[in-house]
């Protein structure tokens, strides 16, 4: 068994991704210095809407912020304990507990105290979403808050009435934003942001689709540092442009046969957020020549997909590509809501079979040998139905390994036990470590 089968190269855009991420957190922190606005909400929030308030409006999205805290071992423990001491249950969403902890101990990982938002702009599909910010508001002694229910059913059953329900809440939200901030809403800026969001999320899907290639140009551990930009700022021009650049680089890697993992021989996918403090599990896989080429999570948390003419999965065609002119706020909202309702990671909320079908599609089109499911105690939203996904994948003949952990609470992750499971999983597939 050779150790190096394919040539590898570091990703050129790696540094730029990191820069964009750091800048995002600093922009939010320092927004007030330049007279700008700060808002907080989820990574799935319709961030294009507050963009209509001006170019100096910055967000802090909750889940990536939680993950950022989780990366930092000491700080994360401090945050988690602060939340527990304040009476919040230990089995709640760990991002949320980290986030609250950061308020309670008043620390921001980019320096300074927790930068209090001017308002909350959140959406709601998981039980914890809207309530997350109820507690934030409790802890901050009250904050203006607008929350939009998007749980209108799976995309396969979409109707104009479902879209209208969400659009109506957003239209009211615009009025509320104007009243809360005292600023005039600019439809032009909003429409521009909607287009950016569609470009970002379609381009990210295009990047992920390149990973169908053998060898895979990207491994999942690297993808985490790239997809995160869409969770921060999907409606920004910077992120949309970055993904266009990234797509070009990844296509070039595929053309030249550049691999993410030089000894790729076993292709896997994971599921749900990884235990952020233990990404070395992915490095461990390399000892077996195994690579995780992605997951429904990395592909479809922000990426927007569609079934192409040949029956395979690819990036969803944007309204702009279809030649549709977006002229009004109402039209932009309807398109944006329809676009978001097709998000792959919103489908399993209604039935696990919808997710199993997508996972099987990935397993086949991305040529996988096996699947590792993270039973993530930190996220009841994305772990929803995961046991049924396992049964569905097994039934279809794919080897599946599960490991229990927590994306943001390392106390619930057993590293040795997990690596032992990887060993047993590889042994059961007849794979030996590369010496």
């Amino acid at each position: 068994m050779s150790t190096q089968i394919y040539p590898t190269e570091p990703l050129k855009l790696w540094g730029k991704a990191k820069e964009l991420r750091d800048q995002y957190y600093l922009d939010y922190r320092d927004a007030h210095e330049k007279g700008g606005l700060r808002w907080a909400g989820g990574a799935w929030s319709f961030d294009a809407v507050p963009a209509g308030l001006g170019r100096d409006v910055y967000s802090l999205t909750s889940e990536p912020y939680g993950a950022t805290l989780a990366h930092n071992k000491e700080l994360s423990l401090e945050c988690l304990e602060a939340s527990e001491n304040a009476g919040y249950a230990r089995d709640l969403c760990s991002y949320m507990r980290l986030y609250w902890g950061s308020i309670l101990i008043n620390k921001y990982p980019y320096g300074g105290g927790y930068p209090k938002p001017d308002f909350i702009w959140q959406d709601h599909i998981c039980c914890s979403h809207a309530k997350w910010y109820q507690v934030v508001s409790d802890l901050e002694g009250g904050l203006p808050m607008w929350e939009v229910d998007v749980a209108a059913g799976p995309y396969k059953d979409v109707t104009p009435a479902k879209i209208k329900y969400i659009v109506d809440q957003l239209q009211d939200g615009v009025e509320w934003l104007e009243k809360t901030t005292g600023r005039k809403f600019d439809d032009g800026l909003f429409i521009e942001a909607v287009k950016n969001e569609m470009r970002s999320t379609s381009l990210w899907a295009a990047v992920c689709a390149e990973n169908k290639a053998v060898p895979a140009p990207l491994d999942e551990k690297t993808m985490y540092s790239l997809y995160v930009l869409a969770t921060l700022n999907k409606a920004s021009k910077e992120v949309a442009d970055f993904y266009a650049e990234l797509l070009a680089e990844v296509k070039d890697r595929v053309a030249r046969g550049i691999a993410a993992v030089g000894n790729e021989q076993i292709r896997l996918m994971s599921d749900t957020q990884p235990p952020w403090a233990f990404l070395k599990v992915f490095r461990y896989l390399e000892q077996y020549g195994a690579i995780s080429v992605g997951s429904l999570y990395t592909f479809g948390l922000e990426g927007i997909w569609e079934v192409k003419e040949d029956g395979t999965w690819g990036p969803r065609t944007t309204p702009m590509e279809k030649g549709i002119k977006i002229k009004t706020r109402q039209q932009a909202m309807e398109l944006m809501v329809d676009w978001n309702l097709s998000k792959p990671e919103w489908q399993h909320f209604y039935h696990p079979q919808l997710k199993t079908d997508m996972m099987l599609r990935i397993a086949n089109e991305w040529k996988l040998n096996g699947i590792m499911l993270h039973y993530n105690r930190g996220c009841e939203g994305l772990s929803l139905g995961i046991a049924e996904n396992r049964l569905g994948l097994l039934k279809a003949g794919f080897p599946v390994m599960t490991f229990e952990g927590n994306m943001g609470d390392e106390r619930e992750f057993d590293e040795n036990m997990t690596l032992a499971r990887v060993d047993a999983f590889m042994e059961s597939m007849g794979i030996k470590k590369v010496k």
Partner: protein, 375 residues
């Protein structure tokens, strides 16, 4: 006086099978109290709530990962063990993620001829949820019509609304009697009333409630009322726990806030020419489950009102283990009760409540309350 209700609860499956034999009608199992029973009664379908069996079980492990609540797993176990083999259909209205999994796994592994997921809106504080729910109810009605092969008319809907509203009204009238200094019924008895109403034909249940309502005002319980307690939180049909608090610890539950209690029946629908809108409004306006209680926490005020109306001295706050929606409200609830000087005891429920350890805690809680009385 309560034997019938207790028997309905304990022998829910016998009841359902007899009903089916007698009427030849269809029975649908529902997983959440946001399901519009009005439409099902209008279609002459009997809705029965699927609750757990309170027995340790080992069949759900392959289907629901261990961090979801024991109630949802217990409910699924009833399906996997074929306890509800007589169901012709199953349905859920969107609420929490936990119970949703019991429904979807049931759908996958114990398929019935009809299965419906109703996307009940969460944002009930937005008026848009009314029109949206109305359109969803329309779709639900059409699906039920297709299933039963029978058109549902306005007359049918009026009948359905009346059956369900009558049940709500009677239950509430009986619950009002618990405001008295010495309530004529215990918390355990009240629990049987509501639970049995979720498992029987409400027309029959209404008759029994009417009879009860005639007898109750004269009834004297040969027991001291003791501390007047409220119990609130997640789903709760833990009879042994209630029995222990009332019989061993000698306190009385005078009111509750559970979806197996007052949240289920507290408000009736308000007449509207548009029947589906009338039904939609009722579910939007009902006492919310915490999954739908945002951005404001409206339940806090409702709980305070119950405490005042029922002269509650102490509150036992319970939750199903891992119940995230309740866990997200409990600190706020406890804080608001504390601010008003109401003592609270928090307990985490599982499939079976550990009665020994819980008894010690309840007794200590009551002792603390009595101590405060001295000063």
């Amino acid at each position: 006086m309560f034997t019938q209700f207790k028997e309905w609860y304990e022998k829910r499956h016998d009841y359902a099978m007899e009903w089916k034999e007698k009427t030849g009608g269809k029975i649908i199992g529902y997983f959440c109290t946001y399901v519009p029973e009005e439409i099902l009664y209008a279609a002459d379908v009997l809705p029965v709530r699927v609750l757990g069996g309170h027995e340790p079980q080992d069949v759900t492990e392959p289907h629901i990962f261990g961090m979801y609540c024991p109630f949802s797993r217990d409910v699924l176990a009833q399906g996997l063990k074929n306890k509800f083999f007589y169901l012709d259909g199953i349905t859920i209205a969107q609420s929490c993620l936990h119970i949703r999994q019991a429904y979807t796994s049931w759908d996958l592994h114990r398929p019935t001829e009809f299965s419906y997921y109703l996307p009940m809106p969460h944002n009930v504080q937005s008026d848009h949820s009314r029109t949206f729910l109305r359109s969803e109810l329309q779709q639900f009605q059409e699906a039920v019509e297709k299933w039963t092969g029978k058109k549902i008319t306005d007359v049918d809907l009026d009948r359905g609304i009346d059956i369900v509203n009558t049940n709500r009204r009677l239950l509430k009238q009986i619950f009002e009697l618990r405001r008295q200094e010495n309530p004529p019924l215990t918390g355990q008895e009240a629990m049987y009333l509501v639970l049995s109403s979720q498992m029987t034909d409400k027309r029959e249940h209404n008759k029994a409630l009417l009879e009860l309502l005639e007898q109750l005002p004269q009834r004297k319980l040969n027991r001291p009322t003791g501390e007047r307690l409220m119990i609130l939180g997640s789903e709760n049909d833990d009879i042994p726990f209630t029995e222990m608090v009332e019989q061993v610890c000698e306190a009385t539950f005078v009111i509750d806030d559970h979806c197996t209690g007052t949240r289920y029946f507290w408000n009736e629908s308000v007449k509207d020419e548009d029947r589906l809108l009338e039904i939609a409004n009722r579910y939007v306006d009902r006492v919310p489950c915490p999954t739908k209680d945002w951005p404001q926490r409206k339940r806090l005020e409702h709980i305070q009102n119950l405490i005042k109306d029922y002269d509650v001295q102490g509150v036992i706050v319970i939750q199903q283990k891992f119940c995230d929606p309740h866990e997200l409200d409990i600190p706020a609830i406890q804080k608001s009760l504390k601010e008003r000087g109401i003592p609270t005891l928090f307990l985490e429920f599982d499939v079976t409540a550990p009665l020994g350890p819980f008894r010690i805690r309840v007794e200590a809680f009551l002792e603390m309350m009595r101590q405060e009385d001295l000063f």
